[in-house]
Amino acid sequence: MARKSSSLKTSVVTVAAWTIGFLIFFPILWIIILSFKTEGDAIKAPLEVLTSGWTLHSYAEVQERSNYALHFWNSVVLSVGSTLLALVIAVPAAWAMAFVPGKRTKDLLMWMLSTKMMPAVGVLVPMYLLFRDLGLLDSRAGLTVVLTLINLPIVIWMLYTYFKEIPGEILEAARMDGATLRSEILYILTPMAVPGIASTMLLNIILAWNEAFWTLQLTTKAAAPLTQFIASYSSPEGLFYAKLSAASTMAIAPILILGWFSQKQLVRGLTFGAVK
């Protein structure tokens, strides 16, 4: 009896979970489908869309019009570069805050988070002037620094919560054995923190990849990432659903695939220390 009801429950759960999962995923699936249609078919009713012919035409057109490879590479360099730079700055800071907490550590952390609340649009003109004077407009270096600073608070916070969960006794034992600060971080702390660092890194890459204000404003061509690639397809004259879908698919596919493959890693660190 119990077994039967539990198997019934499992099937209900299975159906419910699949339905909801499918609905949440559906918009993405739909872009992918539309990207393989002609412009004329892409605006038809859903059933007609599904039964119409398939074509690679939109991809060919997007490929011909835009330098996808350049935008893609810029996105990779910017998101990975800014993430690594952020980690280099954040790991020592988070370590210090987690293991040598002062009276003001919490306040410091909150202050760092509050720097994220400045509306970017309000400071565009000052930033543009600054970048012009430093010769950083349309340079990957400048944008990398901006993306690093934007995400630094989140990175520090994630690492901090992660480091806090590492038991202090282990470090003390190591110190007894005469480990220096450097070797303490390098050989004991880092290996224990690798999962946390990995998921921090992943989250940060996603955030940097999807950042759509500064990447659009401070670049023109040489450093322009995929956000600008999308901006040239967003609302042209005439029918554009299929081309927009193809461009969108090309812009989100890399990060989607990365996310899927590494979702276990990502999930482990997304706890922000909230799970005890």
Binding site: W30, I89, P119, A120, V125, F213, T227, I252, L256, G273
Partner: protein
């Protein structure tokens, strides 16, 4: 345990981050404060003049300001409500054993990876468009009049779009928390005849408090500055029905090219965001203490 030596080392290690963030905050902020006291239109260079608090006055008295303030709160509140409640329900569901867990989890997590501009474009054109959108086609199939989402319910539509992007984030954090729930305790409670509802209220929910706090905190930071979704879908309209503070600042500084007014708006937004952050910390900060 913390010796004088390690304290010095700790300060050294924190300082790069602090200095960089301080510069990042103070340089643009300082320039913005300076501009906010100038009459400065980007299209009329060389005409800058000192105006005192004029820019602040005009920013605050415009009717759009009140609307933007309310919309900002509604947007943050609405998305938080949907993602937290939806996230808990979804996490409870995904926590059950069922076939194809891995694939379903992959599908649920996917919207988080989609750029805000792309998701807004897709929802606006392929789904909410009252003529060619999926919803319009469905309504027509059912013999109904297509609903015009972005002009009849602009803010609600934007909340929906933003919530779609953030639901995976909330779900994942809550799901991770659920998985660390003490199974034995749950089973014991079940043996004692506690109803599902009671188990949820007295065991599950308290266990999730910290995670919910984290979700609320992180999302609030990002939601206060929602901008791309509005720019792409409604341009803040009709009227000011979907204008939030960042969008209002954008209008002032990049549509009107009124850098002075935009800067004043930016400063107002920073102050308000910090007030929100302060209260948020007061209210939920203690949940984060271990």
């Amino acid at each position: 345990m913390a010796t004088e030596h390690s304290r010095t080392a700790a300060r050294l290690m924190v300082s790069p981050a602090v200095i960089l963030l301080f510069l990042w905050m103070i340089v643009p902020l300082g320039m913005t404060i300076y501009f906010s006291f100038l009459r400065y239109n980007l299209l009329m260079p060389g005409m800058e003049s000192w105006t005192g608090f004029d820019n602040y006055y005009y920013f605050l008295v415009q009717p759009a300001f009140g609307a933007a303030l309310l919309n900002t709160l509604l947007l943050v509140g609405g998305v938080l409500l949907i993602t937290v409640v939806g996230g808990i329900l979804l996490a409870l569901l995904l926590d059950q054993p069922f076939k194809g867990q891995g694939i379903v989890r992959v599908m649920v997590i996917a919207p988080f990876f989609v750029m805000p501009t792309v998701s807004a474009l897709v929802w606006k054109n392929m789904f909410m468009n009252p003529v060619n959108g999926m919803f319009a086609h469905l309504a027509k199939t059912l013999g109904l009049q297509p609903f015009d989402f972005l002009s009849q319910a602009p803010l609600a539509s934007i909340i929906l779009i933003v919530a779609w992007s953030w639901l995976p984030f909330a779900t994942l954090i809550l799901l991770t928390a659920l998985q660390s729930l003490d199974r034995e305790q749950m089973e014991a409670a079940e043996m004692d005849g506690a109803s599902w509802m009671n188990r949820f209220i007295y065991l599950t929910l308290p266990h999730l408090t910290r995670s919910i706090t984290v979700v609320v905190l992180i999302q609030t930071i990002f939601l206060l500055s929602v901008f791309a979704e509005i720019l792409v879908t409604t341009n803040g309209g009709p009227g000011t029905a979907s204008t939030n503070l960042p969008y209002l600042v954008y209008q002032q500084s990049l549509l009107n090219y009124d850098v002075g007014g935009g800067s004043a708006g930016g400063i107002v937004a920073v102050i308000l965001a910090n007030i929100v952050a302060f209260f948020l910390m007061r209210m939920i900060g203690k949940n984060l203490e271990s």
